[in-house]
Symmetry: C2
């Protein structure tokens, strides 16, 4: 069982991913507002632009396929807005961790599912999921902050664990839309790799997963 | 006396405008978060992308001219962050009015100043100040909300007056940076046209300026 075997119908996949791009955008824009320096602000705005481009490209994909983008995104609005509120973080370091970990997990997840899309669409979506602008800056900012404070380090480690829990629920529910939810035993193996990648991201920050 | 006679030195002009683009971005991204429908959210994200492109283009202009973008933007950070906090608005309609009125006033103002920049740069900056994506949607959303509530209408009219006051102070102070502040009698005539344009925007919303 691989993620590509669990790919939802095209309108569901594109609608959810397009709305998720808005959520990643909202998190990044919050980080821009909270950024303590002009340099961090300007650098994060580049990452934000990249996520917005992905959103717009997904809207175009839907239009080209005769899918109404608003109708396709709408079913995800309430649950994903709720996800965003729960995961936005209380301050600059928490919000940075959110941007880094949730974008990482979700783009991995949707890249895996993209392999189950028809040829052409699959490749185009994979390209626009390659969102990594500003990641290096995120990691550097966080490593510096974490290295300087063990109290911050343990708070962010806990925050990272909570984030991956909430993000896995979102990912899992997306497999259920438009069909029955696959059983836990079918899903767990496909999440193993995603969780390893999450652990590597936590390690990169110097946090215990 | 025209705005073009008051254009500050290039690093000051580009640095302030680039930081202001971040402020307009922060206001728009707040509107995206507060937007009550998927359609409004997605449409505003297009406007947000446009402002981010302007920011990035200004960074590129500075780099090409051998100006350090962060050093050029930095002097504007505290006053403009303060301006943003004072003008962000308490809810969705106030934030929409902020996006509409402050972007309108400030792009008019910086377009006027752009005429005093060297050829080439002047034209490129004028093109990237032509920010109007999502304006129509903003106006439609606001007209509908304002038409339905006279209480909202008078609250937003007051908000619009406060915004233009704060925005004029920002504009005026930008003429002072890098030199002495021109006297009130020299500045007032150049603001007359900007205020007329502001009044037309208030009219378009059905608000009394």
């Amino acid at each position: 069982m691989e993620l590509a075997d669990l790919t939802p119908p095209i309108p569901v996949y594109l609608g959810q991913l397009a709305y998720l791009a808005l959520i990643l955008f909202e998190n990044l824009s919050r980080a821009v507002v909270l950024a303590p320096t002009t340099e961090a602000k300007s650098s994060l705005s580049g990452a934000t632009a990249e996520v917005l481009e992905a959103h717009e490209a997904l809207i175009t994909e839907m239009r080209d396929a005769g899918i109404d983008p608003v109708a396709a995104m709408d079913p995800f609005r309430l649950p994903l807005d709720d996800y965003r509120r729960r995961t936005q973080g209380a301050d600059w370091p928490e919000t940075l961790v959110t941007c880094y970990l949730t974008a990482g997990f979700l783009t991995d997840f949707f890249s895996g599912l993209a392999a189950g899309l028809p040829d052409g669409l699959s490749q185009r979506v994979t390209v626009l999921l390659d969102i990594d602008k500003g990641q290096e800056m995120l990691v550097e900012e966080l490593r510096a902050a974490i290295g300087a404070s063990s109290r911050l380090s343990s708070r962010l480690a806990m925050w990272g664990r909570r984030l991956v829990g909430d993000t896995m629920l979102v990912a899992r529910s997306s497999l259920a839309i438009g069909g029955e939810l696959p059983g836990q035993e079918r899903i767990e193996p496909v999440f193993t790799e995603l969780i390893s990648a999450h652990t590597r991201r936590m390690d990169a920050l110097g946090l215990t997963a």
